[in-house]
Amino acid sequence: MTRAPVDDATPLAGEVAQRLRFDKAVLDNGLAVIGEHNAGAASVAAGFFVHTGARDETPEVAGVSHFLEHMVFKGNERYTAEDINRTFDELGAQYNAFTSEERTVYYGAVLPERLPQLIDLLAELMRPALRQEDFDVEKKVILEEIAMYEDRPHFHVFDISAPLFWSGHPLGNSVLGTKESIGALTREQMLEYFRRRYSPQNLVLAVSGRYDWDAVLEQAERIAGAWPTFEAPRERPEAETAAGRDGVVDPKLNRVHVAYYAPGIAMTDPRRYAAAVLGNVLGDSSGSRLYWELVDKGLADNASLGHEANEDQGAFVGYVSVAPERAEDVIARYQEVLARAQAEPPTPEEWRRAQRKLATGLTLRAETPLGRLTSLGATYQSLGVYQSVAEVVDRVMNAQLETGLELLAARPFDASFVFTLGPGSHEAPR
């Protein structure tokens, strides 16, 4: 267990780290079972991480990963939808699921004595019936969800701009899909997708908090050991990202919502910690260069940037909310801040400050087993390794400014893509 530099004056952090234990096993059918045991936790969280998401979809089935995520809660031969929800309630579980470009995760947290029932139930989810009548009702819910996000322009602007930035690369695929793609989707298409993607070798069962490892492993073997396995590879085409400007006019909006993209690095690149620190120096929601240039001066109520590392590609992604009459000036200043960083790189003080902010954030998120579960499962699924929070904090605190300079030397912000969604009274050069 690595001890982080910030632990020096914080013996407690070290004690916590030393209480943790990593457990891991892979069943014969390829299902990975992992755990981070914390004897001091009052609860336990568990989740199935499915290595499939929007990037694994073809255009005809856009949104199927997310729609399927809803459908698995509809049960199977043994459980109706009501049974599923009722049983989660009986366990007092905090539970949910989410879908991203790269994965679909089903998770819950309970008191330790109820973990076996939670794992049983999560495992039932992984064997859904996908009944036609449930499919028809849930399709309406998905269409409502799409309508809801249409009313959230700070979200919608990314949904419509990502495909343009990623220029056809599957990382630009919309998680929600469109009214048209969801409207046209059939149960058979979903079933075909499920049969192609939900293979045990494409799944990780992760547990964090207080649990009995032998019991977890025995249960996983008993429940999931016989699930048939098959290859479920992910396509990884090269990305050629777009640069320049684009936009959509929506007269009902009051503000201009700006999505900003610039090329970044992949999760597999050891420089990703430096990229995260660099993103924080430039675009954290407080105290960053963009904050001081735009938000502090009252020119925009939001102007941020961060680095997002996907498995094989990454990007600096930013957002601005601004009044229409100021939009062009603010976009120019936003780009100027980032372009200038390539000539005037972060100072050691700025670098250190960003490292410490990130370290505190990582520590806080890991306070609860549920807060810890996502990074535990995702890191193992995408990189095949275990990383304790102390180790991640350590990597962040040891990320070198020189590595940041190396990232800036590639001049990522010269290749930026800016997309505006606004009422149209601003000038959006096309």
Binding site: D23, D89, E90, Q94, K140, W213, V295, G361, P369
Partner: protein
């Protein structure tokens, strides 16, 4: 790969950590409340001050939110940039906001930095600079946040609903008004600071991995010199129930309803809350099942208990496309009405299990714990222990709930819808 750890000895044996909040009141009237979570490397702090849109002077709506922004822009010897840098050099994650009855500052940091963080954190309320040079930017940000509200129909609905439901100044939007914000001057907001940044009635709540003596010493050192009497907030008055539709060009109709409930902290409030959890505590609850699972009418539907100081009320929310708004509201109201017919023993058990389990899990997070303590002291005048809340929830019986729902039929709610065109007469008469 198995470990030689005897895990069976651990599972089922929850470490019984005493979760008793410790409270002290400084000579100047500031209440300090702390709950130790000794296994954590972090500490979270929440400072709540009794001012918000409710205390804005007539014609200057938005003064509180501008003050909240302005007071963070430099304090004591440090200008805005130096203060921000000093806090961030210590790795502090900051937050907070200005709401209806209160404004808050929050900070989370590593426990080792407690003594360094506290004076900086306190300085924003004890000695804010309120420099003229920072005023316009603070106001401009508030103006922009108000303008951004137009692009967030769900947030706008909450404002419109509370404005219709609450007749007293608590019904005012925490975002202020365009006119009110335009009328503000540095002198006027400075006067608001003098009136409102006071230790009496303020609450400093902390939770995390430090011991009480250290916390109290650091808080006393940082806040002890703060002086002044607080202001009294008016009581809550409810408006006349009715229906209102706000025209907005959105894809979904936002449906909100509100009605008064029991006084927070009373036994009746626990019973009411348990009943509401049967209605809407989870994805297996009645509302989710009837509105979403069976009919596919919405993505989001919920009902929950909310409190203003000394006043409890229930809020319902649903978002749906216009052609389904009537049916959604009808099913929602029917479920509220059906509650008076009683709940089953199984429903009660599930609701209680969920509430008790959630208490344990929230108790694992330092920021959630600090927030709970601050809200308790602010709203109830004292911090409840987790054990007390747990015991109160556990004590609610089937007879309690069924007698309560039978004798407390749904009062006529205030209903506000927000969306395109005037939806059918059933929704907005």
């Amino acid at each position: 790969m198995s470990s030689d750890d005897d895990a069976s000895a651990v599972v089922g044996a929850t470490p019984e950590v005493a979760r008793t909040p410790l409270t002290a009141t400084l000579e100047n009237g500031l209440t300090i409340v702390y709950e130790a979570m000794p296994w954590l490397p972090s500490v979270s702090a929440t400072l709540v001050l009794p001012f918000g849109s409710v205390s804005d002077p007539e014609g200057f709506e938005g003064a509180a939110t501008v003050l909240h922004e302005w007071m963070q822009r430099g304090a004591g010897d440090l200008d805005s940039r130096a203060l921000s840098d000093a806090l961030e050099d210590l790795g502090v994650r900051r937050g907070g906001g200005s709401s209806r009855e209160s404004s808050s500052l929050t900070a989370s940091f590593l426990a080792s930095e407690l003594e360094a963080v506290m004076p900086l954190f306190a300085s924003m309320v004890t000695s804010p600079r309120l420099d003229d040079a920072e005023f316009e930017a603070a106001r401009e940000l508030a103006v922009q946040e108000l303008e951004s509200l137009d692009d967030s129909p769900a947030l706008r609905l909450v404002d419109e609903l509370l404005a219709a439901f609450v007749a007293s100044p608590q019904g005012r939007s925490p975002y202020g008004t365009a006119e009110g914000l335009a009328a503000l001057t540095p002198a006027l907001v400075r006067e608001e600071a003098r009136r409102n940044l006071r230790p009496t009635g303020a609450v400093l709540a902390l939770a995390g991995g430090a011991d009480w003596d250290r916390v109290l010493a650091a808080a006393r050192e940082a806040f002890g010199g703060w002086q002044g009497d607080g202001v009294n907030l008016p009581g809550v008055q409810v408006g006349k129930p009715g229906r209102r539709h706000v025209v907005a060009d959105s894809a979904q109709v936002q449906i909100g309803l509100a009605f008064p409930g029991p006084k927070p902290g009373t036994d009746e409030a626990y019973v009411h809350n348990v009943a509401l959890n049967v209605l809407s505590g989870s994805m297996g609850s009645r509302l989710f099942t009837e509105v979403r699972e069976k009919r596919g009418l919405v993505y989001s539907v919920s009902a929950f208990f909310r409190t203003l100081r000394g006043f409890g009320y229930t809020v319902g929310y649903a978002g749906t496309t216009p052609e389904r708004a009537d049916e959604t509201l009808a099913v929602f109201l029917a479920e509220l009405e059906r509650l008076s017919e009683g709940v089953t023993a199984e429903e009660l058990e599930r609701a209680k299990t969920g509430m008790l389990s959630a208490l344990v899990m929230q108790g694992e997070s330092s920021s959630a714990t600090a927030g709970r303590l601050a809200a308790d002291v602010f709203n109830l005048g004292r911090a409840r222990t987790l054990q007390e809340i747990t015991a109160k929830v556990e004590a609610v019986t089937l007879e309690d709930v069924n007698e309560y729902v039978a004798t407390h039929r749904l009062p006529e709610p205030t209903i506000v819808t927000l969306g395109p065109a005037r939806v059918a007469a059933g929704v907005a008469q």
